[in-house]
Symmetry: C2
DNA sequence: TAGCTTTATCGTAATATTGCAATATAAGAA
DNA sequence: TTCTTATATTGCAATATTACGATAAAGCTA
């Protein structure tokens, strides 16, 4: 066991959970916040800013990329990771909808 | 080594990540959605609706309660779990802020 | 009291996540 | 070509998460 039973939930529920999982680590929050403040972003930069080892940063970037929040473009030997605006707004909307559709109830 | 280095991140970053972690499971999304649709909520109800075993539901409810999103009130032998409106709006704001403070950048 | 119902906790197994050292890859500089 | 720099991948250890059967606790009902 220990494996999430995704099949018993809706696509929307799984998608939102998947997105939340990417945000469920302070390093990835920090990475996204940092990238959003830059004009461009070099990964090596992140190692210093975040304070985790280079392979660890690389893995976190990959998690973020997997749900489409980052676009990476090689600029020579350097890499420019940037936020995908469309996907960003898509997730923003998904979280907004989730938080909005809650009724005032008992207690 | 498998343990998140929370101390190198800000309180805000850790808090948001912690909240996201609770939403990072479709069962907990489903539980919150279901509770929000009810006037009251009995846990036994959730076992049927969600489709996970009773101890598993109980554990998920506990995770949600830990970040203050649920208030539980015993009504005799039954339990009424309800969403804490204040905390809900607090997290809604936190996610809203996070998603809003992203600059348009390169690529 | 004894039995029933509801929820919590314990124990355990399977799997996932986090982190990093070592190493690989790839592209520019000398 | 060799050296350097930047990023990715591999392998592994430590820890966390997910799930559930068994059982406990607590409050009804008869």
């Amino acid at each position: 066991m220990g494996v999430t039973k995704t099949h018993i939930f809706s696509v929307q529920q799984n998608d939102l959970a998947q997105a939340a999982k990417v945000l469920a680590h302070p390093a990835r929050i920090a990475i996204l916040e940092h990238i959003s403040k830059q004009e461009a972003c070099i990964c090596n930069d992140l190692v210093d800013v975040i304070g985790l080892a280079q392979p660890t940063i690389s893995q976190h970037l990959n998690e973020i990329k997997k749900i489409g929040l980052l676009k990476g473009t090689f600029e020579g030997k350097n890499l420019c990771y940037c936020i995908d605006q469309d996907r960003w707004m898509e997730l923003q909307q998904a979280f907004h909808d989730f938080f909005s559709n809650i009724n005032r109830n008992c207690c």
